[in-house]
Symmetry: C2
Subunit: 258 residues, 2 copies
């Protein structure tokens, strides 16, 4: 059975998240249903990151096992045909070894969080950013973020629902960029790690927003981390500004079928 | 009766266009209904550009006459309150003289057209770009566009429904930019003129796309213009990539209430 890696883009708004659920639409179920149109049987796919309801992806990665030999480009085109009109698209596909695993072979995840500062309600960007109405100090947020970089116990910054065995993770990067857009000023948070805990990005961004607004000092972020206590976390920010951008693997996976 | 200028942003997708219509939702009717919540009577507002169904705006301008004296910021906030949850927002407001007119006082309109080149169906950008699957040569498109700059009879590039008295207009700018985005390569067309004919931007962009694809030569654009014949135009491109970005007036109107 040949195995294929799929790079997947989706607008998370209409979905209850990545993971298949009994009574609610999910991205996983949408892709599995499209696969069943190609090979009529039950398909179960595994993804690199199980994104929450409302979270988007530019570069989610999943793998599927097929009975037929599919040219990757044809597989991508056929899936996209059956995925329409849902806002899910396969943007690349590649054949991989039978022991390659979208989740367990991944060595890096990159997330983007988009925060829009503006007074008037967002129109075009609604559902794609977290909007706040007050100014934010990016220098303070960067100072706060610096305390989180590296190898730490992130108990404070993970959901009580998190199923990871250990709260200890290495956060490689938090890049905070101020971008002028047609809708207003966006603060973009770029985070990278081998893997993330459940709600880790939203817990970090929600806390850093409090720093940018001036109600937390940058040092309070260090204190919260050191408390190793979920109750010490700032507010968890909403999901609709979050994008799974890219998943990294050892060795080359994609050959640019886009 | 004090008069106010309103700068308006909207997502055109759910609307039959700017203009009020008997049985279909319009941006004009949405704003007039919000005004009626502030002063209970029939309101009629005039806009700088009557955008078609599906066309978006970042900087549409309209004016309204009020009975009460409103602080512009308060007027903007109150209208935005009543416009929710529709994707229409007042992004600036200013008091203007009683002879100031959003349409007749305007001396420049700027439009943006976003064309996305990509194979996989658009997810996040659906409804906000015109998607094509083939590469486009921007140098050829610029050569074609150069023939349209200046004072011309644009009969070829206007809808047969166009109500303008004269087809002669001065096109000040067509700037064609290639932008790498997370969704793929966008070709962005920036157009500026004192005023535009009905469907002029979409007729021009649709024709230039044919040049970029190699099926028209740049010189064929000049021939089409000189034909002064609607039948000589290339295909009119779809509305969802079009944005009314800005309207220019003599003198300062806005004082940045954003």
């Amino acid at each position: 059975m040949p195995r294929y890696a799929l790079k997947i883009e989706y607008n998370g708004a209409p979905f209850a998240g990545w993971q298949r659920q009994a009574d609610q639409p999910s991205v996983q179920a949408a892709i599995e249903a499209a696969l069943a149109k190609l090979e009529l049987r039950t398909h179960t796919i595994a993804a690199a990151g199980r994104t929450d309801a409302g979270v988007h992806a530019r570069g989610q990665v999943a793998h599927c096992d097929m009975e037929k030999d599919w040219a990757p480009f044809r597989l991508m085109e056929a899936l996209n045909h059956h995925l329409k009109p849902q806002p899910v698209a396969i943007v690349d596909a590649a054949e991989v070894d039978s022991d390659w695993h979208a989740r367990f072979s991944a060595i890096e995840r990159r997330y983007l969080f988009r925060l829009l500062i503006r007074r008037a309600p967002a129109t075009m960007e609604a559902g794609h950013v977290w909007q706040v109405k007050h100014p934010l100090d990016t220098a303070l947020m960067r100072d706060g973020a610096a305390h989180l970089i590296g190898h730490h116990d992130f108990t404070t910054f993970r959901s009580v629902m998190c199923q990871a065995k250990s709260p200890v993770k290495t956060l490689d990067k938090i890049e905070i960029t101020r971008v002028e857009t047609d809708a207003g000023v966006e603060i973009q948070f770029g985070l990278a790690a081998r893997s993330f805990l459940h709600n880790q990005v939203r817990s970090i961004v929600g806390t850093l927003e409090r720093v940018g607004a001036g109600s937390w000092t940058p040092e309070a972020v260090r204190d919260a981390l050191e408390a190793k206590d979920r109750a010490a976390c700032g507010p968890v920010c909403p999901p609709q500004g979050l994008y799974l951008m890219d998943v990294g693997y050892a060795g080359r996976v994609w050959t640019a079928h886009q």
